[in-house]
Symmetry: C2
Subunit: 154 residues, 2 copies
DNA sequence: GTAGGTGCAAACCTTTTGCAGCATG
DNA sequence: CATGCTGCAAAAGGTTTGCACCTAC
């Protein structure tokens, strides 16, 4: 899907929910969808400020909350207390492996995993809203003794 | 396993690692293992202060870090930015479902889930250190319209 | 015109840290 | 008796909030 399309979908959805479509939201959404990487709130703020230096931190946080609530963006914990976001539109659901040495994030997907989670939930009458599977450890490169990042545990 | 046994195991292990066994650590470990619930650092501090009002917050955090590092305790994110711990000794690994309405935490285990994670990791040469699967949603009771907790999203 | 959104700065909360004194091994 | 641990208080991060002004609808 093209960025402009994604942008349009988000705009439509938010308008339908009664939200206003402001310049700031447009900018923040554009930056959040610009690449399929995993960004922190602060990084997103920086990107936005390159185009409009007066965007406020509060607006970025508030918009991220709206986007997360609407399901366009997903938060994931990085294992060292941090939190990153990724946009979801046009990308199938996937899980993550986080390298504790270099911080790299690998995505993977396994249908059987999903199925078994549904099953487990059904057993106790739990209605799934979302879920998060993260595997922490060392990626192939870091097992070979690459330099660990500052503060890494491994 | 009995609490005294668990206590003894932790003490032995920490001593062997060269850590000192202080009154504070003994107390903190005792409180952490007192029940198999999911507690925050602050709650653990409170419990400890009931028996010894001068235990410091810093010591609780430092001890939790040691225990987590040693694998006696595991942290888990609650989905609303919070963090809780549970003790692990004598309890098989399990995953969690977190009710976003009432905060209840349900444990479950599925060997096939574990197996498929190992497989996915093997495929990309990733060495697993730990992993965390959490399913967020509504528990059976809350689907029937029980009063949601303050600040709940659902 | 009027909600709702924004920017700013201050408040908040949880966790970490520097340091002087204390207690364990 | 040396080092590691503790308590305190302050700092540090990351996120939220109160409020006056602004702007999309």
């Amino acid at each position: 899907m093209k960025p402009e399309q994604e942008q349009a979908i988000v705009e439509k959805h938010l308008r339908e929910q009664g939200f206003r479509w402001t310049n700031q939201r447009s900018l923040i959404v554009r930056m959040a969808f610009a690449t399929h990487d995993h960004f922190t709130a602060e990084e997103l703020l920086d990107r936005c400020r390159k185009l409009d230096p007066k965007v406020s931190r509060a607006t970025v946080y508030r918009t991220l909350a709206v986007l997360e609530e609407a399901g366009f963006v997903e938060g994931l914990e990085t294992g060292d207390g941090g939190r990153r976001f990724e946009h979801v539109l046009g990308h199938e659901h996937h899980d993550h492996m986080v390298c504790l040495a270099c911080g790299a994030i690998f995505e993977f997907r396994d249908d059987e995993l999903e199925r078994r989670q549904d099953l487990a939930a059904k057993r106790i009458g739990f209605r799934i809203e979302r879920h998060s599977l993260r595997i922490y450890g060392a990626c192939r490169d870091c097992q070979r003794g690459a330099a660990p990042r500052k503060g890494a545990r491994a």
